[in-house]
Amino acid sequence: MSAAPARLPTPLILSAPAALLFGALILTPLVLTALLSFNEFEHATGRTHGFTVAHYASVLSDSYYLEIFLRTFRVAALATAICVVIGVPEAYILSRMRNPWRSVFLLVVLAPLLVSVVVRAFGWSMLLGPEGPVNAALMALGFGRMRLLYSEGTVIVALVHVMLPFMVIPVWTSLQKLDPAVEQAALSFGASRATAIVRVVAPQILPGILSGSLIVFGLSASAFAIPGLLGGRRLKMVATIVYDQYLSDLNWPMGAAVAVLLLAANLIVMLTYHRVVEGHYRRRLG
């Protein structure tokens, strides 16, 4: 090891492209959005450059907005929970498969990522629409036509469909790191297969479940296309009202305020969750 008297700028140079990209494409718009949210707005003249916190005050005091925020987080939390319930066993089964089935099914799990979210949302709306195959089947079975579109349930189902790979992949990765002998060891000491999974496998893949949940929750809470296309005009979520404020009401500062609040709320929820779950397991798994 040399003494290295002058620090080489190599690390800085190497991280510069990513830093520039991050700064230009994420930080700058965020700062601009935050600044915008403090501008005054007049319906007649559009935004003015005065400073006000009125937009924040009106969002936080208006039960209309609060309801939309609550709905957004409820939908995101439910979608995340369902993704855990479906995705974790899916990843476990996948990791137990042998090739070639494993490769085939991994591709099946990942394939939805290759199709645009918008296309998939339209797929759901065709499937669940009043003339769609699901309703046709319900009619044929004598249940009568049901209104499936534009409900919270539909949005959750579609979100789960879109987000599932983001749960399966991190869980699958942590399962790959698992020593298969550990599960055998549990069996050899008399544990049933279910006990072995609950007591030995699940705790070890918890970091994977944690990161999967964070990704799914974050993406679901800020999802736009799915609630926009499947929630319709009535079932609004935060991302869709941001859009409305910008493009229908042309109230940019209000839209910016809602967006900033969504970001803040999302961050608080995710950081809390992360702290609680990871803090619990940090010492054990290192």
Binding site: A185, A191, G286
Partner: protein
């Protein structure tokens, strides 16, 4: 009837037989090692005893009970895995306690039993640590404590020492044997390391391509290997191909490429093709001009307690080992004589098949 019995156990994967017709009886309290190069079927055999692999045919009996198709979690065996397979999210105490919990041992009984097991492996002070906070040797001990705490009828050790460094491995060998003696558990160990197998086993089972080739006490396997493969796999040996020239009541003369060598007769007939095996430590180095064969030191290696010489002579290069008695060793190029007692020569019938390099095969 023996305590653990394997009867004609075979495991095939498609057309490939990983294990063929393995029959083995292990007595209660015995320490038996399965020794062989990798791919010889020893681990598969252990996995069949453990219940992780189902035999294609044959039966496994434990204490008279047929367990061939019993589930792994109903056998109650103690297993130490090669990777240790500790539960990383549990403390040492909880790791050891896991088996007791699964066997529904009353709560009050668990703590003293776990503490006793940890005491036995000298880890009592580490009960509250997590596996990642332990060294390799300590993890190995936790794995051992975890396996013996459930008082299993049979303890299975899968290459238990292969992940430890040489010094620790040697220390653990003796400790393993010591613990096994104290607990008295019937033990089956899989290893590819002959030193490990020999030093601590009551009997060694040598396996080669899915079959058992010899079952014997370590000393007997070393001194009387039944096949050339074993003589090569177990320790170092000089293999000398030759032809029987003359036979009388007590002795036979074998011509090794024109050099006549006397051996104990056995049931040899004139004209037989044989291979003679002489262990390097059985060769004595004498002064030049004495002994049975002349030679010259081609190379010498210092092994600490011994000197290993390569001696060039009329039979090619032979290995000879002499104890390091503190005197000056022979120099390279020095002429010597080679001598041995006829009774130390082992004879295998037939000519040597061109064998794969034992150094490649031994791992």
């Amino acid at each position: 009837m023996s305590f653990l019995e394997l009867q004609d156990i075979t495991k095939s994967y498609g057309t490939l037989n990983a294990v063929s017709d393995v029959t083995l009886s292990v007595e209660k309290g015995e320490f038996v090692s399965l020794l062989g190069p990798s791919g010889c079927g020893k681990t598969t055999t252990l996995q069949m005893i453990a219940g992780f692999v189902e035999p294609t045919s044959g039966t496994i009996r434990l204490d008279g009970r047929d367990i061939t198709h019993a589930k792994a979690n109903s056998r109650g065996l103690g297993i130490v895995f090669q990777s240790y397979a500790l539960f990383p999210h549990m403390t040492v105490f909880d790791n050891v306690c896991f088996g007791l919990e699964m066997q529904r041992v009353p709560k009050g009984e668990r703590r003293p039993r776990v503490e006793e097991a940890l005491e036995l492996v000298h880890l009592a002070a580490y009960a509250g640590r997590y596996p990642r906070e332990l060294s390799g040797g300590q993890r190995q001990r936790v794995a051992l404590a975890r396996a013996i705490v459930i008082r299993p009828p049979v303890l299975l050790l899968d290459e238990p020492l292969s992940n430890l460094d040489a010094k620790l491995r040697e220390a653990m060998q003796f400790e393993l044997r010591d613990i096994q003696r104290k607990v008295g558990t019937t033990t089956v160990m899989v290893t590819h390391d002959q030193a490990e197998a020999f030093s601590i086993s009551d009997r060694v089972v040598v396996m080669e391509s899915g079959r058992i080739t010899q079952i014997d006490q370590p000393y007997r396997i070393y001194e009387h290997p039944e096949t050339e493969f074993i003589s090569r796999f177990v320790g170092k040996t000089n293999l000398l191909p030759g032809t029987v020239q003359a036979v009388n009541d007590r002795a036979a003369t074998v011509s090794l490429g024109g050099v006549p060598v006397e051996i104990d007769a056995g049931a040899l007939v004139r004209g037989d093709t044989v291979t003679l095996c002489i262990r390097p430590e059985k060769l004595r180095l004498t002064g030049s001009g004495l002994g049975r064969l002349p030679g010259r030191v081609a190379e010498r290696y210092f092994l600490g307690s011994q000197w290993l010489y390569h001696i060039d002579g009329p039979l090619g290069t032979l290995m000879a080992v002499t104890p390091n008695d503190g005197s000056a060793p022979l120099d390279t190029g020095e002429p010597v004589g080679l001598d041995w007692t006829p009774s130390v020569v082992r004879v295998h019938r037939g000519r040597l098949a061109e064998a794969p390099d034992p150094t490649l095969e031994a791992h």
